[in-house]
């Protein structure tokens, strides 16, 4: 007789934002084996980028890979194609790009925190964080003019300059958010029920972080110093006050704290950029068609994002290869699920901040 029961999580489940299917084999509620399927939202974007759209349009197409890190995908593509076309951007453009990237990181992290709270049954916290998140969304909307798909970055620069009104709004909202994040840190650390739900649950050790190729906040929570912002100098992160934030245990509790502290760091960076912004051109003119190949690494909110571009001197690109952070996190995720309780599974899943649309593309 079969000793285990099979609990399906997905492809449609209340605790999931996006379609992914896990089949947990459980003994009582202890997970012994995991089977997974992530390819529910394959849209053929990589193919479309090489066959349907010209290289100038691809930036807007790859933004649709993911709703949350829309800026990051366009950024990575743009940096890659600028490398091929040999475009040198000025300081102002770089700073504006970092500003939007960091705002994106803040709201993505806040969404992840809210989702983790919701999945562990903490609805009050979910509503609170989603309310606070509006502050960042407002800044992004005021700067770019769109609420979700910003379409802010284009080849050679950015589409819009920051007006003084936007700057003022950004300063007030960021200062407000800074206080709220401090408050959130207090609330996440001094709650009896979240401690039961988060501490020592879903822990990824330092060695496993390397073995399973963990990226982003997941690796940093385990104490592994993996961050493209520190490793690469494609964007001037060091000038704007970037600081590596590391956790110790790699459990959900640490991941939450790392995310919260990164939000604080991002707020500081945004404030630095806004106060040091100079006048200047926001668009560099360029000519010619791309010929050559490039590799781009960029730190998305969830971890390292990788773009490989290959162009042959025509308007169409030959190859666009996207590797998203969630793709690398799945092995680690599966490993963590084994041996933990089914009751913790949704919270663990949310704390990984998986983006299935990114992964399936």
């Amino acid at each position: 007789m079969k000793k285990t029961i099979t609990i399906p999580l997905g492809s449609q489940h209340i605790s999931l934002l996006e379609p992914v299917r896990f089949n947990f084999s459980c003994e009582n509620e202890k997970i012994t084996d995991v089977d997974y399927n992530v390819g529910f939202v394959h849209r053929g974007i990589e193919k479309a980028c090489t066959e349907k759209f010209e290289y100038k349009q691809v930036g807007y197409v790859v933004a649709r890979v993911c709703g949350l890190c829309a800026i990051t995908h366009t950024m990575a593509y743009t940096l890659g194609i600028e490398h091929i076309l040999n475009i040198k951007t000025n300081k102002k453009i770089d700073y504006l790009r970092i500003l939007m990237l960091e705002l994106d990181r803040i709201h993505s992290h806040l969404l992840c925190l809210a989702h983790t709270a919701e999945n562990s049954g903490f609805e009050g916290m979910f509503m609170k964080i989603m309310g606070d998140r509006e502050l960042v969304m407002d800044i992004q909307e005021a700067i770019s003019g769109n609420r979700v798909q910003f379409d802010f970055v284009c080849i050679g620069g950015v589409n819009r300059d920051i007006s003084t009104e936007c700057e003022k709004l950004a300063f007030t909202n960021l200062a407000l958010l800074d206080k709220k994040v401090d408050d959130l840190i207090g609330k996440f650390t001094s709650n009896w029920s979240t401690a039961l739900k988060y501490k020592n649950i879903g822990a990824l050790s330092y060695d496993d972080a390397f073995n399973f190729n963990a990226l982003g906040p997941l690796a940093r929570a385990a104490g592994a110093a993996i961050d493209v912002r520190a490793e690469s100098s494609i964007l001037p992160y060091k000038e704007v006050g970037y600081k590596m934030i590391l956790g110790q245990n790699g459990d959900i509790y640490d991941r939450n704290l790392v995310r919260l502290k990164e939000i604080k760091n991002s707020i500081l960076m945004c404030q630095n950029i806004l106060s040091g912004l100079t006048e200047g051109e926001i668009l560099v003119k360029f000519k010619g068609k791309p010929n050559g190949e490039s590799f781009t690494r960029l730190e998305a909110p969830r971890g390292e994002i990788f773009y490989y571009l290959n162009a042959n001197g025509t308007n169409m690109l030959q190859r666009v290869r996207i590797k998203t952070p969630t793709f690398s996190q799945i092995p680690g995720m599966v490993e963590i699920f084994k041996g933990s309780d089914y009751a913790d599974a949704p919270a663990i899943l949310a704390s990984f901040d998986p983006c299935m649309s990114c992964t399936a593309k």
Partner: protein, 279 residues
């Protein structure tokens, strides 16, 4: 209370229970800085659920659930007719067992896990209810609600009983942190998941009856002082909503531990308190 009045209270329990539930939802929305649904939302839900297809997974599933609803309603009638406290507790247990059996009768894994967890939570809160019934007996010398409500107020000796009942309220109503048996995000509502249409409306209305059941326990602690009793109910209503808003769901084994340690512990303390200090 006249018989007609008691009958009316019992008969219309699902209706005014729905209004209480609506108030609860508005209160929770206010605590989360939302506008929230209108107070009559449970009835709008009811109208919508009535218009849906009457889909039955299998006959026993629905029949056990109808038994659950009817026996729970009977328990509410017993409360308003001033019945015996122990009969009421065991009547409620019987109703819950019907519900659990109904959860086991379908093949859905979520429903079965919900039944498992509900069974464990019953194991956790039922002893507390009985210990507290004993406390009430020690103070008033009777289990009959009609006699308890006529007795002079003696809340000083029932302070710990009240505190221990505060642990039972969220467990029976499936509110955070003790809502592992419902666990919306894990097992999609547990036993409730397989009902649809009119039959889900019965499960939904049963929630209102459960509310009346647990809060009437708190109400009788104030015996003949009805204003103080109302205050106790409103206070616990607020306290439970506040805690629901500020805690995560704890796992079923933590729930058992917490209820046995604090809920049951407070019940035992209450017995000693009554025996040593009050008599």
């Amino acid at each position: 209370m006249s018989i007609v009045f008691s009958f009316m209270l019992g008969f219309f329990a699902p209706i005014y229970g729905g209004i209480f539930y609506g108030i609860d939802r508005v209160l929770k929305a206010k605590m989360q800085r939302r506008k929230g649904p209108p107070v009559l939302q449970p009835f709008y839900d009811m109208l919508k659920l009535f218009s849906k297809t009457k889909f039955i997974v299998n006959a026993p599933h629905t029949i056990w659930m109808i038994f659950y609803f009817l026996s729970l309603w009977a328990v509410v009638f017993m409360i308003f007719f001033g019945g015996n406290l122990l009969y009421i507790i065991f009547g409620h247990l019987l109703a819950t067992v019907f519900f659990i059996i109904s959860g086991y009768s379908v093949n859905s894994i979520f429903s079965q896990l919900g039944s498992n967890r509900k069974l464990l939570s019953v194991v956790a809160y039922e002893p507390i209810l009985i210990v507290n019934a004993i406390c009430i007996y020690l103070v008033f010398g009777t289990f009959e609600i009609s006699e308890i409500l006529a007795a002079p107020n003696n809340f000083n000796s029932l302070v710990f009983t009240f505190l221990s009942l505060l642990f039972v309220v969220p467990t029976v109503l499936k509110l955070s942190p003790f809502d592992a048996s419902k666990a919306h995000q894990e097992i999609v509502g547990g036993i409730e998941v397989e009902f649809g249409g009119v039959f889900y409306e019965l499960v939904y209305a049963a929630k209102f009856l459960e509310m009346i059941f647990v809060y009437s326990f708190i109400f009788i602690l104030a015996s003949n002082d009805y204003i103080f009793g109302t205050f106790l109910v409103v206070f616990s209503f607020f306290a439970v909503a506040l805690v629901d808003n500020s805690t995560a769901r704890i796992k079923i084994d933590s729930l058992l531990k917490a209820l046995y340690m604090y809920g049951f512990g407070l019940g035992i303390v209450s017995i000693f308190w009554i025996l040593l200090c009050c008599i």
